[in-house]
Amino acid sequence: MRFLRIPVIWAYALVIAVPVLVVVESSFKSLATLYQDPLWPTKGMSGQSYQTLTSQVPLFRYFMNSAEVTVVSLILIILLGSMISYAILRLPRIPSMIVYGVFAVGMMIPTQVNMIPMYLEMARLGLVNSRIGLILVETAFLLPICVFIIGGFMRTLAKELLEAAKVDGSGEWQMYWRIAMPLSMPAIASAAVFAGVIVWNDLLFPLLLIKSNDKDTLPLALLSFSGQYQTNYPVIFAGVLLASIPMVVLYVFLQRYFIAGMTAGAVKG
């Protein structure tokens, strides 16, 4: 069916691109002109909806909230995940298999299963409506998959490198920090992209744990101001675009890492 190739691949390109382009275009229309012509550019396009949005919604604060949660979670996930991976590599056979097994089972349990008891526990610990609570939960839920990605890679490292370091009298920490971790950078990059995109875009945990507006992350803020603006699409789309910019910019510059990382996560998950 080779003759279908060109029509199919370009038709699908349109399916992906047209909605995105129309959304960008609509964010520069007013609601009235959007009703006149939802599809094509009209006269008098302006940045009005961006002004409305930024004057009424503290978007920058939500951006900083998301950034803080994502960056701190990522540091924890990568550091702790690679330490566990290193331990799995170095532990005697039986304990190593047990640790690996626990995280393998952890990967199978979907977020939605734990959300109720997790929420109740957080309430008891006084961690509801705190960013630290959100960070710890995101970390706990993404550790298993990152242990899989990083641990799977570390197993392929040459044992001789570690042995040589051992002869030089290096302790476990130095062997981890100076050898195992730097050599695992490709896997760490994949894990970081995978976890980063998930935490940045996550809705469920912030929805459960964040209760006051000023601590909203971007997806949560988007959802709540869409209630406020109902079907005022230009304003909502201005929000969607502003919220997506950081990821889009990163994606444009780091495509290869994004595609590799997101796929690694899918294959292991």
Partner: protein
């Protein structure tokens, strides 16, 4: 080379966080599923398997949620796996155009589900939506619909959105599988005079089995646990026509305060996911044994 006992310290910080925020809630959830707790009152009663019995026998809204989940999962899995395979085959060669198209197809994967939800709510909007406008422009007014407002169609509309959002990601998995097939096999097939379809049936398809298993299992699990898109687009409505397992658990627990009951649903949910995952591993092993 023996590790020093200090190696156990490496497990400590991550292990503690995992224990407190993941393992403990899971066990806690299991015990809650045997109670009738409302999440608020100080006392709770253990009621044995009553929640499970009620779920399986006479909770019609749970059965609706199961039905909706199956509709959603089947639609997404069948269309998404087929589409991503076709597109992966079409974009196999590393030409500039193909790399550009792969990057474009992949793009929605990096958007948050909330953003994707808004884009598609606009597409489906019954007054000014792109879909109805386009249908009107080409003279197909008869096909215009209220999409997300239609009880029969809404779940499939959200399935289409999910397919749009993640086909590009699965394409990459297929691509990796396709690129591992030795080129010589295709040359042999060509020399033997095999048709394209025969080559696909006898060479590509069997050798692609591991990738197919991963794609199908991943899509199945992802669509089984779908929450964000549905929560943002319809929140289970209209009626309960888009209520799926994940939103059902959320609504039972946080809207109706049926904490014990929702925990029982969660546990069934976990069993379903575990069965799918084990089936995946079993299938992968079976196939690799067969081909060995």
């Amino acid at each position: 080379m023996r590790a020093k006992p200090s190696i156990y310290l490496f497990l400590l910080p991550g292990g503690l966080i995992f224990l407190i925020f993941f393992v403990v809630p899971t066990i806690y959830g299991l015990s809650l599923s045997f109670t009738n707790w409302d999440g608020l009152s100080p006392q709770l009663q253990f009621i044995g398997f009553a929640n499970y019995a009620h779920l399986l026998t006479d909770d019609s809204s749970f059965h609706t949620a199961i039905g909706n989940t199956l509709k959603f999962v089947l639609t997404v899995v069948i269309i998404q796996s087929t589409l991503s395979l076709i597109l992966a085959i079409y974009l196999l060669k590393n030409t500039k155009v193909n790399i550009f198209l792969r990057t474009l197809y992949f793009f929605p994967t990096i958007l948050s589900s909330v953003s994707v939800a808004f884009i598609w709510m606009f597409i489906y909007d019954s007054n000014i939506g792109i879909l109805n406008t386009l249908l009107g422009d080409v003279g197909l007014q008869s096909l215009q619909a209220s999409w997300l407002g239609d009880q029969r169609m809404a779940i499939y509309c959200i399935a289409a959105t999910e397919i749009w959002a993640h086909t590009g990601q699965l394409l990459i998995i297929y691509l990796a599988g396709l690129q591992q097939i030795p080129h010589e096999l295709y040359e042999v097939a060509m020399l033997e005079g095999a048709s394209r379809w025969q080559t696909f049936r006898k060479v590509t398809w069997p050798l692609l089995a591991p990738a197919t298993t991963i794609v199908v299992a991943y899509t199945t699990i992802q669509s089984f646990r779908m929450f964000d898109l549905i929560f943002a687009m319809t929140d289970g409505g209209p009626g309960n026509s888009t209520e799926v397992l994940a939103t059902y658990i959320y609504h039972q627990a946080f809207q109706y305060n049926h904490v014990g009951y929702a925990s029982a649903v969660s546990m069934l949910f976990m069993v379903i996911i575990a069965l799918i995952t084990m089936a995946q591993f079993g299938l992968l092993r079976f196939r690799s044994l067969k081909s060995a």
